[in-house]
Symmetry: C2
Amino acid sequence: MNDLGPEARSGDGAIERLIDLMAKLPGLGPRSARRAVLTLIRKREKLLAPLAEAMAEVAATARSCIQCGNVSTSDICPICRDPKRDPSVICVVEDVADLWAMERAAVFRGRYHVLGGALSALDGVGPEELRIPKLANRAGEAEVTEVILALNATVDGQTTAHYIADALADRGVRITSLAQGVPIGGELDYLDDGTITAALRARREV
Amino acid sequence: MNDLGPEARSGDGAIERLIDLMAKLPGLGPRSARRAVLTLIRKREKLLAPLAEAMAEVAATARSCIQCGNVSTSDICPICRDPKRDPSVICVVEDVADLWAMERAAVFRGRYHVLGGALSALDGVGPEELRIPKLANRAGEAEVTEVILALNATVDGQTTAHYIADALADRGVRITSLAQGVPIGGELDYLDDGTITAALRARREV
């Protein structure tokens, strides 16, 4: 299969350029990029033109929320601006994708703090690379009573959680983290040993 | 998993709109659309802005080549314009994607004719819906000596091939079709009966 490189050609410069750019998106390769571009051209009015417009708008306006680090098209993101969100609880996540996942669950009504990654000795990510100093400032504000650490259940995520718990120890706020255990719908037979151990240790009366 | 519908939310209108549009691309769902949009925002200068521009350009200029039906940003596509391509051979394909596949093989040096589909009683696609009259005209031009039918080896594709062969019978051109047989790298054990039958019938002296 000649699916890579310069042979992925339509013969037309502008269309080729679009295919090459689309192929750089995560989840799309040269073949799916070509398919997507053909679909876009077929749905020029309904999909291609609006998509070009939406991309241009986001390209011109996207930035990080100066408060929480969420991506936004305004300096303060809609979540930080929303007066109905509880300002006393800050949920700390590694990435914007994690914030979006929390929002989809639609159960958390406080605000967020996006670190922009996790501490990693291997990748040379220290506390300065993350937004931990900013988090310490926010946690010191009078209205904040709880910081929830919603970091990934990975080595780096948990290292980061411990580091933050230490760093905020003198801020007079409650520091909690997401429960670990059997996921809803999870079957014991398919779970790894670590999850079963965590779930057993955190067992509760029924 | 709440992966569908209005819960796929970043909280930001412009970003949400972009995610919704991206999720309409073939091969992308809501989850991969969100991932793609995060990548786009991270690579704003290098990917998002150029992509917005390339899409706007293609949206403004894409059309079908009036000669062969290939997608193009000019009235006559680069392949039909190319004086080095042999005008005496026309390769008939169902879709633009098939034309691109032929071009990737980089072995055919003639010109194309894109039908825009195949005859299909089930889907109500008759000869008028395809570009068969235009093909008959082209095949009647003095310089054309051969029409290669490179249609899919499906029932509809082969029906279409027979129909075209009949329609062009009086045009005085050679009508050929792609060989059917064992694909390169193909293992007999994994091939369907139809392919093995076709390969056996078309067997050649070695």
